[in-house]
């Protein structure tokens, strides 16, 4: 192989390697660029989405809605966050606001590593359930998803939780943060895990969903960060019954 050819080949392969590294770095940086801090809580889209929608405890929407959608999710699960940010607003707009569907939140903390001090799921979940006692659970849950950090990074600091709580209009943040550290929220978290295991097995994944007529045993199970069409199909079928 002549020197000219070798230089040309090295230029092509080296250039390609540099470009691949640049693209991979861009992809990773783009994926993590939304890491939140206590001072940059994003709340506009959540407040707008939930405006005028009734809440009671873990429930969102018209209590007399024909169909109930049950969401089983972990607050630090990235797929749950992706679903919450992309699909859930469309579900709210098309089904919850018109009063056709009510949603129940069954929050679980399965992603906290047992051998780590980072207990983000538990801390986020406790605040959400404490907010539920003031009928503001959905504001907190959706704000937590909107500002979700990297799984297992310990991003749910005291300052972060306070930032979330103080961003919810009409909620007593101090009271919610105080209740979050008591046993008052434990039964709600335990009951969510029991429901998830009963419907999806001991090794269930998040997000998982149940769809059914309100007051009846849910008949449809949806597992994973599925697109809006999957939910529309299941909900429409239940509405037609």
């Amino acid at each position: 192989m002549s020197r000219d050819v070798l230089v040309r080949v090295l230029a092509v392969v080296g250039g390609a390697a540099v470009l691949v590294i640049a693209l991979v770095v861009a992809s990773l940086v783009g994926h993590h660029s939304t890491k939140p801090t206590a001072n940059n809580i994003q709340l506009d889209s959540v407040a707008e989405m939930l405006r005028g929608v009734p809440q009671h405890g873990i429930e969102l929407g018209n209590p007399k809605a024909k169909v109930t959608l049950t969401e089983v999710s972990d607050p630090q699960c990235p797929y749950c966050g992706d679903w919450a940010r992309t699909v859930f607003p469309v579900v709210v707009q098309n089904y919850v606001k018109p009063g056709k569907v009510r949603v129940e939140y069954k929050g679980v903390d399965i992603l906290d590593p047992p051998d780590s001090s980072a207990q983000d799921s538990s801390r986020l979940l406790r605040l959400a359930q404490a907010a539920g006692l003031q009928n503001k659970l959905w504001n907190v849950v959706e704000l937590e998803f909107e500002n979700q950090g990297t799984e297992g990074s310990g991003y749910a600091t005291d300052a972060f939780l306070r930032g979330i709580a103080q961003s919810v209009t009409g909620m007593n943040a101090d009271k919610a943060l105080s209740v979050a550290n008591t046993n008052a929220v434990v039964p709600l978290i335990d009951s969510a895990r029991v429901l998830a295991e009963a419907n999806f097995g001991k090794r269930f994944s998040t997000p998982s969903f149940l769809v059914g007529r309100t007051g009846s045993v849910p008949t449809v199970k949806i597992v994973g960060d599925q697109p809006f069409q999957s939910f529309a199909k299941a909900i429409d079928a239940q509405l037609k019954k």
Binding site: S2, Y79, G224
Partner: protein, 141 residues
């Protein structure tokens, strides 16, 4: 080796890749889930994952543009264009390896269309290297 044969193969594989990437781009903008087969059911999960965009642009669309640019490079008979085409093919296989890693380790779901695309990119890169060498040999001798 006559450079015509690898050039033809590169063009053909680039068109196959463009077809796959084009389909994924169509389903992305259409909002419909890609048809998943062969016992692999993660197409929607992969397509809806937070890794499916780069700079806000769907990765499928970037793939489509990449394959089309490689195809175009086979139509223009200039050494620099050819080298650029080979370089893009190598970038494609490298980035596809990363996308495969994401499916296996981060997304925990596989998309049969993406895997097909990754296989095509491997063959395309191998053929492109042959093309580069055949041309290089022609020039050198």
């Amino acid at each position: 080796m006559n450079e015509r044969y690898p050039r033809f193969l590169v063009a053909l594989l680039a068109l196959v890749g463009a077809g796959i990437a084009g389909y994924l781009t169509y389903t992305h903008y259409n909002g419909s889930p890609p048809v998943c087969g062969l016992g692999v059911h993660g197409c929607e999960t992969v397509q809806n994952s937070s890794y499916s965009k780069l700079f806000g642009i769907p990765v499928a669309l970037l793939g489509l543009l990449t394959y089309l640019s490689i195809f175009c490079s086979t139509l223009i008979r200039h050494p620099l264009v050819r080298q650029a085409g080979v370089m893009v093919a190598l970038v494609a296989v490298g980035f596809n390896a990363y996308l495969f890693y994401l499916q296996a380790e981060k997304i925990h779901a596989y998309c049969i269309w993406c895997i097909s695309n990754e296989i095509v990119s491997v063959f395309l890169a191998a053929t492109a290297i042959t093309w580069l060498f055949s041309r290089a040999k022609d020039t050198a001798t």
